[in-house]
């Protein structure tokens, strides 16, 4: 996979946001807005909520751009992690809250979505050309799927258990062990 992101200087965009340049945030939005929305929709499975989260993420990025430290990680990673964690907190908050009976008709159905994803697993195009690929490759396929579905679909331990049919304790153990092995492999 070619690095389509390299032509945009995310760190410079954040530095300009920190200086109060609206245009820097706009450039960032133009460049990454659709990818951010894609990542967030996949997690929250509701378009309206996903746009709200991208809105909040942009304001968060703007407000905290000055706290981004390039020594600690890449700017693009920082930007996506802001949006992902807003999305993850939102769905975990939703899960502990009342169930909305009147679902938005545009809301995606999780089961359908998951089945669709599972069907595609054989040809799950997850390889990115990064070193992590070979580490993921070394995991058993079902554990690799757990890890990738957790990351991409924002599934909790319980949701993975429900959808794979594996006991909750097993899923937790799979993920813990997979993370240990991935970290060793990347060390």
């Amino acid at each position: 996979m070619t690095d389509v992101y390299s032509e945009f200087d995310h760190a410079a965009a954040l530095a300009n946001c920190a200086r109060g340049e609206h245009d820097a945030l706009h450039q960032l939005y133009v460049h990454e807005g659709a990818r951010l929305l894609g990542v967030v929709i996949r997690i929250v499975k509701d378009r309206g909520m996903a746009e709200d989260i991208v809105h909040d993420a942009c304001l968060n990025i703007w407000q905290h751009a000055d706290s981004f430290d390039p020594a600690k990680g890449s700017a693009r990673t920082w930007i996506f992690s802001v949006a992902r964690h807003l999305a993850l907190n939102a769905i975990r908050y939703r899960d502990r809250e009342v169930t909305f009976d009147n679902h938005d008709p545009t809301e995606l159905d999780l089961d359908e979505h998951f089945q669709h994803a599972s069907v595609a697993d054989e040809a799950f195009d997850w390889q990115t050309g990064q070193r992590m690929d070979s580490c993921l490759e070394a995991l058993e396929p079902e554990r690799r799927n757990c890890v990738l579905h957790a990351y991409v679909d924002g599934l909790s331990h319980a949701e993975i258990a429900a959808h794979t049919g594996a006991p909750l304790g097993t899923v937790k153990a799979w993920i813990k062990r997979s993370l240990l092995r991935l970290r060793e492999c990347m060390a």
Partner: protein, 245 residues
Amino acid sequence: MSRPSQHEHQDDHTLAGEYVLGTLSLEQRKALEARLPNEPELQQAVMAWEERFLPYTAITDPVTPSDNLWPRIERSLASREALAKRARPASVVPPRPRRMLHSLPLWRGAAGFGLAAALVLGVMLANEVTEPTTPEYMVVLLAPQTQSAGWVVQASSRQEIELIPLGSFEVPEGKALEFWTKADEWQAPVSLGLVEPGQPIRLRLDELPPLEDNQLFELTLEDETGSPTGLPTGPIEFIGRAVEI
């Protein structure tokens, strides 16, 4: 939060990995986020997992945002800057926890119903005396499950609101209704105190920035002395968003 939780005894690298994957519960996520500001090693562990997994965001297809999303972001930026320029003393700026990953965007799902319900209630609201020279806002608070209106918030100025009950509400023994608000840019909701079911109350928002369009209001069910954490912990009983009228 001074007592170590069981998770602190786990391998922090694994915990950080689970946080980044997203498999942790809300409580576990909040516990980890609360540790982050003071634990540089945990920050590093989280960032390392973010870096490792980021390439896999490419699995998802990009989705073009609606045309109104950027204008909306720009409006929020502008209103935030207008607020900052007002140079209010620090003590009256709304509390903004340092943790940047805190937000409750879920509220908006229910709040979208506010406008339609406001139109339905137009006749009743027209009877209220208002001051035509100042911005006026109204919020209809709906029960999320039934979408029935339970309360109305009216603001005849941007610093004073009145919460008016539209019916009665049974509060379970040992519980109370707590009133909250959150504007778009705030990091967390702010408590406006406990309210008595069936009783109107008038509140000054002197401690808060002026009321703004789209600001969220909600009533949650909390312990009778109010939320122990300073943030909503119980179920949302009524929720709505401010509409300029």
